[in-house]
Amino acid sequence: MIKIQVLFFGKLKESWGTNKLEVETGSHNIEDLYLELLNKAANIPHKESIKVAINDEFVNWDTTINSGDTIAFLPPASGG
């Protein structure tokens, strides 16, 4: 089990009812973590539209997560 921090942005904050979670997880990559977190979500967001980041860098869904990482789930940008 590793300890990580998870950040939610935009409408994903509403899906999970928070902007930040401290999580102990056995998941090895972001996709597994996401599936694990889905049972805490009030509604299930469209995964294909979500981008993921580790420690302030965009990464792929299959990127390995390590203890102490900050993982962010980002809905489609709507700036401008």
Partner: protein, 137 residues
Amino acid sequence: MFDLSEKKINDSQLKAQTLDPSSGGFVCFEGWVRDNNQGKDVHKLAYEAYPKLAIKEGNKIIAEAIEKYDIKKALCTHRVGLLEIGDMAVWVGVSAAHRDAAFKACRYILDEVKSRVPIWKNESWTDGESGWVEQES
């Protein structure tokens, strides 16, 4: 350079930083908070960002524009926090020797910022409701 601003965007200052004595062409885009959007009357509006990643991605886009087009300088600032109707939400400015490069680079930066920089719009409508806004096409 890409930046986020919690205060009103100072477009005169940004423009002065973008102008270049050897560049004959300057193109800028300004996005303003309208009193309506997608058929709803907008009361006010907030932009949330993931600041570190937004600044990183925004600067990457500007570097791409300088690489792709023959331009001298490009700046972009996006407002975050609570905005009122009539506030400026985004400013993009480009200096170049030729107008074609200036127009294309300005458009490129704007389009890429809108689609790639982690910033999200939350609108409050005059009917009392509010919500996260999906990107317009």
